[in-house]
């Protein structure tokens, strides 16, 4: 039962938590402010920046002009959305099989899938790099999509598995009794019922793929570089152009920040493989 709490302690809690929350989010707010300043204003003392300078959208235009933000943005979208949906098409049948027709080895297979996630990327960097170089997949969106699909597939399968397990098997049996083929069963009954679960799986995996920074940095150059690599190119010496760097950063993180807020609850479940609910 919820207990009544005095307004005073509530105010106190709000103040403490609010301050700490503000400190956590401050770097993001700060670059949002800097991105709306001129370069000259952006490097002035913090108080001057806040209270003694004008606002401008110039930096955003400059970033697009300098390094074609939209090209990288589309690369990021294609790679993260593509890898997620490709993964989904392979993962849904697999998760169906493991959730509804569990066998003696289902648990082992799941464990093994999880174990591939623990393979440190650096351990297979060299051969993947060489294979990609020799097959022309290096610096291609297709290559990166495939890699991200593979590294996130265990998470997709696990998430779907935990969601599917909550759907009563009787409903799928009912569909079978009603004359549904396996395809109809998955397409018309299972998938629509699992829409919330599938949606959060999609969200989380887009976020993970969007922010993935090992393979995207190592397997791309100019052509297929997504936003992670686009931002890395600002590391120096242009990094000292604060306003432009801020604008570029905001543009790189904004889409995912918004998606992320929608899916915080699912994030827990997905990232802990259902171990914490």
């Amino acid at each position: 039962m919820a207990r009544s709490v005095s307004t005073r302690s509530k105010v106190l809690n709000t103040a403490v938590a609010g301050t700490l929350g503000f400190l956590m989010v401050f770097p993001i707010l700060w670059i949002l402010i800097l991105s709306l300043k001129t370069e000259e204003d952006a490097i002035r003392a913090p108080l001057e920046v806040l209270f003694n300078s004008g606002w401008t959208f110039d930096s955003y235009g400059a970033v697009q002009a300098r390094s074609d933000y939209f090209k990288h943005f589309f690369n990021s979208v294609i790679i993260s959305v593509g890898s997620t949906f490709l993964g989904l098409m392979i993962a849904i049948p697999a998760a169906w099989a493991m959730a509804f027709v569990p066998g003696k080895r289902t648990k082992d297979v799941l464990m093994w899938m999880l174990s591939t996630k623990m393979l440190p990327p650096v351990g297979v960097l060299v051969p993947i790099y060489l294979i990609f170089r020799d097959t022309g997949l290096l610096d291609s969106r297709l290559g990166l999509t495939l890699v991200l699909m593979l590294i996130n597939m265990p998470i997709i399968i696990w998430m779907l598995y935990t969601y599917f397990r909550e759907i009563p098997g009787e409903i799928l049996e009912a569909a079978r009794m009603d004359g549904a083929s396996l395809r109809s069963e998955i397409l018309y009954v299972l998938t629509p019922m699992a829409v919330p679960g599938i949606a959060s799986t999609v969200l989380l995996n887009i976020i993970l793929a969007w922010n993935e920074a090992f393979w995207t940095l190592n397997l791309t150059a100019a052509k297929a570089a997504p936003l992670t690599a686009f931002i890395a190119s600002y590391s120096s010496p242009e990094g000292l152009f604060y306003a432009k760097l801020s604008a570029a950063s905001i543009m790189a993180i904004a889409p995912i920040l918004i998606l992320g807020w929608f899916s915080q609850k699912q994030l827990v479940r997905g990232l802990t493989f259902g171990a914490v609910k």
């Binding site: 709000t14 297979v109 650096v122 060299v126 051969p127 969007w210 922010n211 790189a252 807020w261």
Partner: protein
Amino acid sequence: MATKASKAAARLMISPAVLLLLGWMIAPLALTLYFSFLRYNLIMPGDNLFVGWENYYWFLTDPSFKAAMINTLVLVGGVLCVTVLGGIGFALLLEKPMFGQGIIRIMVIAPFFVMPTVSALIWKNMFMNPVNGIFGQIASGLGFAPIDFFGQFPLLSIIFIVSWQWLPFATLILLTALQSLDQEQLEAAEMDGASWLNRFRFIMLPHLARAITVVILIQTIFLLSTFAEILVTTNGGPGTATTNLTYLVYVSSLLQFDVGMGSAGGVIAIILANIVAIFLMRMIGKNLDA
């Protein structure tokens, strides 16, 4: 529901995923292992001689390996300490009744969605830059000498940045776990005369134990592969002060083009990760039926 027909269907449905992951795991792994026994340098094309354990020998005896191992451990350990302790604190705080809980929670969680390259750049330039960064400006404004974070405390600075990114994750999971605690348990303990500290120690902490292990093990997996933050801020330097194992392998294979050496490093990284992985698998396996 297990007829022979549905079992056969299940095998068919699961096989694309299994085959793909198998290919993804086995092929590169075998190649890494194979390369690690060759003298194989991309800029010195030669016969790629079989050299046995030579690469391992050189990799393991290289002073930067020892440094990288220590840096890796300090980085992982440091971030874990900050995020777990901070996460418990944040979770306890955020669970209390307050105004605008949703908004405050969103503020705390936001850093997790910032891509590693961005967060590294923000902290490096806007905050830790001794001249124009906020920390430097505040120090100068107060009459102190600004600190050159990446010059004086390079590893600590990276730990700080990575912790900022992972603290939200720990908070989110611990908060979720805390919210699943049965309030009646706490009320019963209160009726039994337990103080807040005792309730925390004997009821909340045991309840959080599983979530804490999950946080530690999952973060460890990701933290062992910390890469972008180092690449963007220090490039592993000064010297090898911020080179971790992942970065060292990257340097050998993609900067020095020494495929053999890089592969040997990769194999070592895999072995280390597996040691961690075994613990994680055991734990997740236990929770599978729960």
